[in-house]
Symmetry: C2
Subunit: 314 residues, 2 copies
């Protein structure tokens, strides 16, 4: 596993330095917004969405550089959603990643605009990345890549919108103080956490031109499993996690009367589901390792990642 | 002018029906968000950004259908910004277009998410529109169009972000209770209102492959003039407009101690600037009419539009 941790740190550092470069400090009339965006974006985090994009890209034989703009966009979209989620009218969280949340460090108006700006900049960076791929593909006569690359930003936006992450947040808000059944809760998780963890495999598949292959199906299934596992672990950590390691208070779901995997299935039931999903993800990785068309080291990393997420304390 | 009003209504109706089609009611777990998005998006409005896109497209010999996805995206982005602008932490406006603002009709959390969702869906619709153009261009071997179309979404996002509309809102918030000088105020207007009124000409120019032509320069200059004129008229109407026609309270800038064209130049000075800019925009239209490469009727419509905006009461 020591190789795994080194690679994980490497991917995260590559993400961090990339974000730092594309969103520098500015000294213009709008400098406050850049400060707020950088505060939230560069304040730590597991960078799990970029990591998934980098590793699935390598799994399919692509360079990490090729998918970098989309990885940075994913992290900006995720951060944007955290900033808005923390607002008083939403989850009203004062802390995030062990520091004051954006609206506490700055103010509510700045936090609203910083979230809007990160979301917008994410689409700008992704669109410019896609444009670069399309231009290269057109020049070299690779019409399949040009067409596939042109689909990335629309697909990404659909995974973010009302039938994706934001749709999940809508159900999540409803789930406070209103009991929802397991079908609605399943939709909530699939949308809120799942969509942004599955899109990395989808983007890698599109750029590599592999969406019709068995490895694509396995990578997408793997992403869905760890997406759900990720949410279950979140719910478990909110009950029995260490606030110091988490960088936020625990017991918040209980305060909000939220329907979670723990309220639906009990703590043991939730843990059992988590283990089942992890085993499923691990099986997908073993199947990927059997395919000569895939990078074995990447599949091994994905396997280690599934087990790492099972054990995570933060 | 009767032709002008008929055409203006036609463009607006084309926008409204397009928005109604791409954002239908839904009966799923997330139905509340669709309701809120539709409430704000289909609640009237001049549709000035779509109108500018349609008319510049026709000016450059394109069909309105070709630019339709981008027109709908522009209106969704504009509406998204209005929803967030009206929030208590921002301008705290209870009314918009003569009806309750989104957060008053629904609640703050729903309004935050509806704004996020409209912004995201705008990029989805624009990206899918660009993808359609790129695919067609690649199939027909039109590499210039493929490359130009691939630039649209990134350019659009840059006009929305921190160096565009959102950047303008950042300065606008600062301008409440803090006097800003004319340079900062100029940047505010150029970004907050100007960017979304100039991007229509830019998109039309890109798709028509005319960004190197004199007509492109004239259309962009025209857009900049009416963008600034639009903001000046807004400031004047806030002083001497009719609340019933405006559908919102007047005197709000004074309450907020906002720096406006009226506070900087006086009401007569502001009116003089408005007339100057309108004359400049009209001159650009007359120059466009002289060019055989341009659709004369479109140039005439643009001229009428500039004069319409000068006279507008709402």
């Amino acid at each position: 596993m020591s190789d795994f941790y080194e690679k994980l740190r490497e991917y995260a550092a590559y993400t961090d330095s990339g974000l730092d470069v594309i969103l520098p400090k500015r000294d213009n009339y709008q400098k406050e917004i850049y400060e707020a965006m950088r505060y939230s974006l560069l304040g730590g985090g597991k960078r799990i969405r970029p990591v998934l994009l980098f590793v699935t890209a390598e799994l399919f034989g692509l360079d990490v550089e090729t998918v970098k703009p989309f990885a940075l966009a994913l992290e900006m979209i995720h951060t944007s959603s955290l900033i808005h989620d923390d607002l008083p009218a939403m989850d009203n969280d004062d802390y995030r990643r062990g520091r004051l949340s954006c609206h506490k460090r700055f103010d509510e108006a700045t936090a609203i605009l910083a979230g809007d700006a990160l979301l917008t900049y994410a689409f700008e960076v992704a669109a410019d990345g896609a444009s670069g791929l399309i231009t290269k593909a057109v020049v070299s006569g690779n019409t399949e890549l040009a067409r596939n690359a042109s689909k990335i930003v629309g697909l990404l936006a659909s995974r973010v919108g009302t039938e994706g992450m934001i749709g999940g947040q809508v159900i999540d808000l409803k789930a406070e103080d209103t009991a929802i059944d397991e079908y609605e809760h399943d939709t909530l998780c699939r949308l809120k956490t799942g969509c942004l963890l599955t899109i990395p495999s989808e983007i890698s598949g599109l750029i590599a031109g592999r969406t019709d292959t068995p490895e694509y199906g396995l990578a997408v299934d793997y992403s869905k499993s760890i997406g759900l596992a990720f949410q279950i672990q979140d719910d478990i950590l909110d009950v029995e996690g260490d606030p110091n390691l988490l960088g936020k208070n625990i017991g918040m779901d209980d305060v909000d009367n939220k329907t979670t995997f723990v309220t639906l299935y009990g703590i043991d039931g939730a843990k059992h589901k988590l283990e089942e999903l992890t085993a499923k993800a691990v099986a997908d990785c073993r199947a990927l390792m059997e395919l000569s068309s895939c990078n074995k080291e990447s599949a091994q990393f994905m396997l280690d990642l599934a087990e790492f997420l099972l054990e995570r304390k933060y």
